[in-house]
C-alpha cells in the first residue's frame, strides 16, 4: 500500500514539475515601465511604440522602447504575439525604416534583468520581460 502511495506521490511530483516547467517555458510576458508612468495603454499603443510609429503614449509621455537581444524566445514571442510579425518580417520592416532614415529599431539589451534594471532607473523607457522577473521597481503596463 505504502509502495503504491509512494508511486502515486512520485507521479504527482513529476506532473507538478512538468506543469511548473511548462508554465515557466510559456511564462507570461510583461510590458514594463517606470513606476512614475501612470498612463494606461492598449496593445495597439504599445505596438506603435515598438514599431517606431509613435514616440509617445496617449497622454503625451515620451517613451523609448528597448528590446531583449538575440533571436531569444521572449523576443520572438513578443514580436509574434504583440507586434503580430514573424522575426524575418519584422527585420524587413525595420530595414525599410532604417535605410530611409525614418526610424531606428528598439535597442537590443543583452538580458531581461538588464531591461528590468534600465526601466526601473529611467522614467522614459519601456521594455518587456518574463512576468516572473517583475519586481516592485517597475510598473506592468500590460501582460499577455
Amino acid at each position: 500500500m505504502s509502495y503504491i502511495r509512494k508511486i502515486v506521490k512520485t507521479r504527482v511530483l513529476i506532473v507538478l514539475t512538468l506543469v511548473a516547467m511548462s508554465s515557466s517555458a510559456f511564462a507570461e510576458i510583461a510590458v514594463i515601465v517606470h513606476p512614475s508612468v501612470s498612463q494606461s495603454a492598449t496593445v495597439k499603443d504599445i505596438a506603435k511604440l515598438f514599431l517606431g510609429k509613435s514616440k509617445t503614449l496617449p497622454g503625451g509621455i515620451k517613451l523609448i522602447p528597448i528590446a531583449v537581444e538575440g533571436s531569444g524566445e521572449i523576443t520572438t514571442r513578443f514580436n509574434k504575439d504583440l507586434l503580430r510579425k514573424e522575426d524575418s518580417q519584422l527585420k524587413a520592416y525595420w530595414s525599410r525604416l532604417v535605410f530611409t532614415g525614418k526610424a531606428q529599431p528598439p535597442k537590443d539589451i543583452e538580458s531581461e534583468s538588464k531591461v528590468l534594471e534600465l526601466v526601473a532607473a529611467n522614467p522614459n523607457m519601456i521594455g518587456y520581460i518574463s512576468s516572473d522577473l517583475v519586481s516592485d521597481s517597475v510598473r506592468v503596463l500590460h501582460s499577455f
Binding site: T56, E86, K91, S95, V98, F99, T100, G101
Partner: protein, 390 residues
C-alpha cells in the same frame, strides 16, 4: 540611379568603415548596412534594356553594398549618410542619401540634403533587397534612371480615423546622367517638386504620388536632329518642340498593398510625360501576389509597360519635314510585358535567398532594334540573390 560626383564617396566610406568601434563608445551613432550578392542569366545575347544580364551567368550587375550612419545630435536633430557601392558601377562608392533631419514637431520631420525621390512604393529602399520579397522590383515600372535629388523634404504623419497617413513633400534639383542605357547625357531637373501621400490601416496600405520638374537634357542625337530640321526650314519653336530644353515633365503614380495573414498582394501604376519634347508618354503597372509559408514565400508578378504614339508634333511641321519627325517619334516606341515566378527563402535571421524566373514577351524597342511592333521579341531571364542586413 547613378550619380557622378564620385569623389566624395571615397572619403566617406573610409570614415564609415572605421566607425564601428566608435559606435560602441558613443551610443548616439548607429551604423547599419545592407548588401546583395546577385547573379543572373538571360537566354539571348542581345541586351534588352530592362534586363541587366546577358547570356552568361553574371554576378556584377545586381550586386551591391551599402553602409548607413545616423548620428543623433540631440533635440530632434540627426545627420544621416548612406554610401552605396554597386557592381554595375564597378563598386565605386557613391552617396545615395546625405542629409540633416530635424523634428520640427512631434509628427513632422524636415530634411535637407541629398534625399531619395519617393516615386514608388519601394523607391526609398530600392537597393535594400532584404526589405522586399522579389529579387528586384519590376523594371517595367522601376526604370527611371535617377533616384535621388538634392533639396528639401518635409514628412508629416497624422491620423484620420483608423488610418495612419504620411505626407512626404519634396523640393529641389536633380543633376545626373540621363538615358544611361540608350543615349547617356548629363542633364538637370530644375524646380523639382512633388508629394507622396501614403495611408495605411492594419493590413492595407496605399499611396498616390505626383512630381513635376523642368527638364534640361541636351541629348546629342536630338540636338543634332533639331539643328538639321532648322537648316531645312523648321522654325526655332518647332526645333525646340523636340529638344528637352526646360520642358515640363510630370510623374503620376499610385499603388496599394494588402498583407493579410500570409497573403501579400501588391500593385503599382505610373505615368510619365515630358511635354513639348521628343519623348513619348508611357504607362506602366504591375501586380504581384505572394504567399508566406513560414520561411518560404513563393510569388508571381505580372508587369507591363507601353508608350503611346505621338502624331501631333509631326503634324505641326511642313509636309517636307513631317515624315522625318514622325520617324523620330516612332523610333521611341517601346513596350513589353513580363511574367515572373519566384521564391524568397528566409534561411537566416538577417539574410534571404531569392530565385526568380521571368518570361518577357511582346518586346518592341524600336530605337535599339530589339523587336518591332510587327515582330516582337521574347526573352527568358533568371535571377538569384542573397540579400542581407546588418
Amino acid at each position: 540611379m547613378i550619380f557622378n560626383n564620385k569623389g566624395a564617396g571615397y572619403i566617406s566610406i573610409l570614415a564609415l568603415c572605421s566607425a564601428p568601434w566608435f559606435a560602441e563608445a558613443n551610443s548616439d551613432i548607429r551604423i547599419n548596412g545592407f548588401g546583395s550578392i546577385a547573379a543572373g542569366y538571360a537566354n539571348d545575347t542581345t541586351t534588352f534594356r530592362n534586363s541587366d544580364y546577358e547570356s552568361l551567368l553574371e554576378f556584377k550587375p545586381g550586386s551591391r553594398f551599402g553602409l548607413q550612419m545616423t548620428a543623433d545630435l540631440g533635440d530632434g536633430l540627426a545627420a544621416t549618410a548612406q554610401v552605396l557601392a554597386k557592381g554595375e558601377d564597378d563598386f565605386k562608392p557613391e552617396f545615395e542619401w546625405a542629409y540633416l533631419s530635424y523634428d520640427v514637431a512631434e509628427n513632422t520631420t524636415a530634411r535637407a540634403g541629398r534625399l531619395r525621390i519617393p516615386f514608388y512604393k519601394y523607391s526609398d529602399f530600392l537597393d535594400v533587397g532584404y526589405a522586399y520579397t522579389f529579387v528586384t522590383p519590376p523594371k517595367a515600372m522601376y526604370s527611371l534612371e535617377f533616384s535621388s535629388f538634392d533639396g528639401l523634404g518635409l514628412i508629416h504623419r497624422f491620423e484620420l480615423g483608423d488610418y495612419e497617413l504620411s505626407a512626404n513633400v519634396n523640393f529641389g534639383t536633380v543633376d545626373d546622367t540621363f538615358f544611361e542605357s540608350t543615349t547617356p547625357t548629363d542633364g538637370k531637373l530644375e524646380n523639382f517638386a512633388g508629394i507622396n501621400l501614403q495611408m495605411s490601416r492594419d493590413f492595407f496600405s496605399a499611396y498616390v504620388a505626383y512630381f513635376r520638374a523642368e527638364l534640361e537634357i541636351p541629348v546629342a542625337l536630338i540636338e543634332t536632329a533639331a539643328a538639321d530640321l532648322e537648316a531645312f526650314g523648321a522654325t526655332p519653336e518647332q526645333a525646340s518642340s523636340l529638344k528637352i530644353d526646360g520642358d515640363e515633365a510630370t510623374f503620376i503614380g499610385a499603388g496599394f498593398s494588402f498583407d493579410y495573414e500570409d497573403i501579400i498582394v501588391n500593385a503599382e501604376y505610373s505615368q510619365i510625360e515630358v511635354k513639348n519634347a521628343l519623348d513619348l508618354v508611357s504607362d506602366e503597372w504591375y501586380l504581384m501576389a505572394g504567399y508566406r509559408m513560414g520561411l518560404l514565400t513563393p510569388y508571381m508578378i505580372y508587369e507591363t509597360t507601353e508608350n503611346k504614339r505621338n502624331t501631333t508634333t509631326a503634324s505641326t511641321f511642313s509636309p517636307l519635314l513631317a515624315p522625318s519627325v514622325q520617324d523620330a517619334y516612332d523610333s521611341l516606341r517601346f513596350g513589353y510585358d513580363g511574367m515572373t515566378l519566384g521564391v524568397r527563402y528566409d534561411f537566416h535571421h538577417s539574410a534571404a535567398l531569392k530565385v526568380q524566373f521571368t518570361r518577357f514577351d511582346g518586346i518592341y524597342d524600336v530605337s535599339s532594334g530589339y523587336g518591332s511592333l510587327d515582330d516582337k521579341e521574347s526573352l527568358n531571364s533568371f535571377l538569384t540573390s542573397i540579400d542581407f542586413v546588418f
